[in-house]
Symmetry: C2
Subunit: 118 residues, 2 copies
């Protein structure tokens, strides 16, 4: 990932509605959610939601699939990982220990042992 792509992805997430949509899809998992369900859950008008989904899609953060009349959107985890990689690249130059600790903290809430999913 290069700077421009990262800026696009960050800008896509840097908006309250879009961030909520993205996190909702992250939590929804690989099945995703239909546009209608997302709009209903978040209270966003169809046109507005469509605009935001397009932004997220353009940034590569979500993908979609059609199923009957419904269109399901789902989060793209690989792109999210690429973004995190970009942000942390070369982060260790002057402080490898500090950085490692920080990264461990960052992941502590994610992928916790299978028993502790609340």
């Amino acid at each position: 990932m290069e700077t421009k792509e990262a800026v696009t992805a960050l800008a896509a997430l840097a908006q309250e509605t879009r961030l909520s949509v993205f996190r909702l899809l992250v939590q929804a998992g690989p099945e995703g959610m239909s546009v209608g369900s997302i709009g209903e859950k978040l209270g966003v008008a169809p046109a507005t939601l469509s605009f935001h989904l397009k932004e997220l899609s353009h940034a590569g953060l979500v993908t979609s699939r059609q199923e009957s009349r419904f269109i399901y959107y789902m989060a793209d985890f690989a792109q999210m990982a690429a973004l995190m990689t970009f942000l942390t690249r070369n982060c260790c130059k002057g402080m490898p220990q500090e950085c490692l600790a920080v990264m461990e903290t960052a992941l502590a809430g994610c992928c916790a042992p299978t028993s502790s999913q609340t």
Copy 2:
């Protein structure tokens, strides 16, 4: 971290100049860099740079310290980690394996064995 704070942080990074400044500071490590050095390195006018540093600072992504006439800015790794934590929270609901793999990928470029820093 909650949504609003995350949006602020993401918005701060979702701008080419600011993203460059932040990554420069990430690479500069804990010593940081003076405003003048940053501006010189990136070719940004003082007023513009000051504006962007204020944004990054307001987002909690950088801190500063005064040293003689110079002001040094440095990246705040804890805040970066908090942001990553926020983005990945609850990410495992439907796909723990996939998610773990993705996170490992995300960190592969960071904190690599001490020999491979290019």
